[in-house]
């Protein structure tokens, strides 16, 4: 023991500049007991893991080890720890929809998301081509847009019905959609027909000497065959027109005089006008 005391002190002096006590001890292959000479307050070596949490993780992931499922809590110490943090109020603002909102056009009624099968099946037939032939472009265009919006409405209701798993109503909806599809086809048919008619008319007009397609002046200058005749006879044009009218009436009356013989007898008793 007597020899150990000076050795201890000398080792202590040797190790004083180098503060890594344990490292020096291991270098000198001395028993660890020697390191106990370091006063506990002076040692910078620490085995506590208090700061371990702040050590950057190997992949720099700030949230490594955090889990809401395992309730690991916040990783580092936070300024708000120990204080009651404010929680958001359970408040949901009540929204009122504008009764004139444009999106209401996607629905049949404002209080219902989708129509019942009964309501869905209340519809007429589609427009047919013969009816549409008499309509103007504005009418046809308006009808097309009515169809487009109706199809959107049906698609919205169908999606909602499938979502709600309503079994009945698919057929009614399909039938309704089919009628609209037929109307749209008829509109296209009518317009195509009209286009073909216009094409033919143009072809005719190009050959017609009375029609001027150059776009300057009067496009149509009728050449009445009577005019040439009148000029030859030296008569007034008005008188000629009158004459022509009389002739026309005569022809008509003549036609009427022939017809009754071929008419059935019931025609005479019929008083109400035909509609």
């Amino acid at each position: 023991m007597a020899a150990s005391a000076p050795i201890r002190s000398s080792i202590g002096r040797v190790l004083q500049p180098a503060t890594r006590c344990s490292a020096a001890a291991s270098l000198l292959n001395l028993p660890l007991r020697a390191s106990s000479s370091c006063p506990p307050n002076a040692s910078s070596f620490s085995t506590t893991a208090s700061l371990n949490e702040r050590r950057p993780t190997r992949d720099n992931n700030r949230l490594r080890g955090l889990s809401s499922i395992y309730r690991s809590g916040t990783k580092g110490r936070m300024a708000v720890d120990g204080f009651a943090t404010p929680r958001p109020a359970d408040y949901k603002p009540k929204v009122t929809t504008d009764p004139n909102h444009g999106l209401w056009d996607f629905f049949y009624a404002k209080d219902k998301a989708l129509p019942t099968p009964e309501e869905d099946s209340q519809h007429g037939r589609a427009w047919i081509v013969e009816e549409l032939r008499h309509k103007s472009w504005e009418d046809l265009h308006g009808l097309w847009w009515v169809c487009v919006k109706e199809r959107n409405r049906i698609a919205t209701a169908t999606r909602e019905r499938r979502r709600l798993k309503l079994v009945v109503g698919e057929d009614q909806s399909k039938t309704r959609n089919y009628e609209i599809w037929k109307t749209m086809k008829a509109i296209k048919h009518t317009l195509t027909e009209r286009y073909y008619a216009w094409e033919d008319a143009r072809e005719l007009a190009e050959k017609d000497p009375e029609i001027d397609l150059s776009g300057e002046g009067n496009p149509y200058t009728p050449r009445d065959y009577l005019e040439e005749e009148m000029e030859q006879l030296g008569l007034d044009s008005e008188a000629a027109a009158q004459q022509g009218e009389e002739k026309f009436m005569e022809e008509k009356s003549a036609a009427e005089s022939i017809d009754p013989s071929s008419l059935p007898k019931t025609e005479q008793t019929q008083s109400s006008p035909r509609v």
Partner: protein, 186 residues
Amino acid sequence: MAAAAASKPFKTGLKQVYLPDHVITFCRPTRQSQLPQFATFKVPLHFNKLDMRDYLLHAYSVASLGVRSAVMRQPVARNPVTRRVQRPPAIKYMTVELQKPFVWPKEPTKEERKQWHDDMTEKRAELQEKQDKQMETYQKYGKLVNPAVEKRTEDRTKLAKQAKDLVSGAAKWDNRRELDPKWTES
């Protein structure tokens, strides 16, 4: 329409489409968090955001502040007709930020659902769905019941009940043996 055109909040496109034939579906918001200021539509794949914005303004006089679009890929499925495995075409959804909020009308209550079908039909549909699910499970696992949700055996149920009673104090534990009086609790 004229009023909306007068107060056009943005510059619209110049191309005039006279006879559009695409179908646009208004979708009920599935997420609870979707605000009434947003509206989701299912649109054709060729639709773009500007198309959507102009379409809503011209056809429905609905002014929008912004459009977000998403193309949802569909899962691979077997064609019911040809039995071939194929992927159905993707679906495009567009979420429009509205100038005026819009809340969807309420869905039919259980009482109102009877306007579509009676209870019998509903039960039949439920049963059918259950059987379909069972069939799917069988094809996947070779069992009629998914092992993950397999029903507990009777033993396990009894054991769980006993444990619950013991914890709540309804039953007292006893091993039917006389204990030394110095070990008994006061």
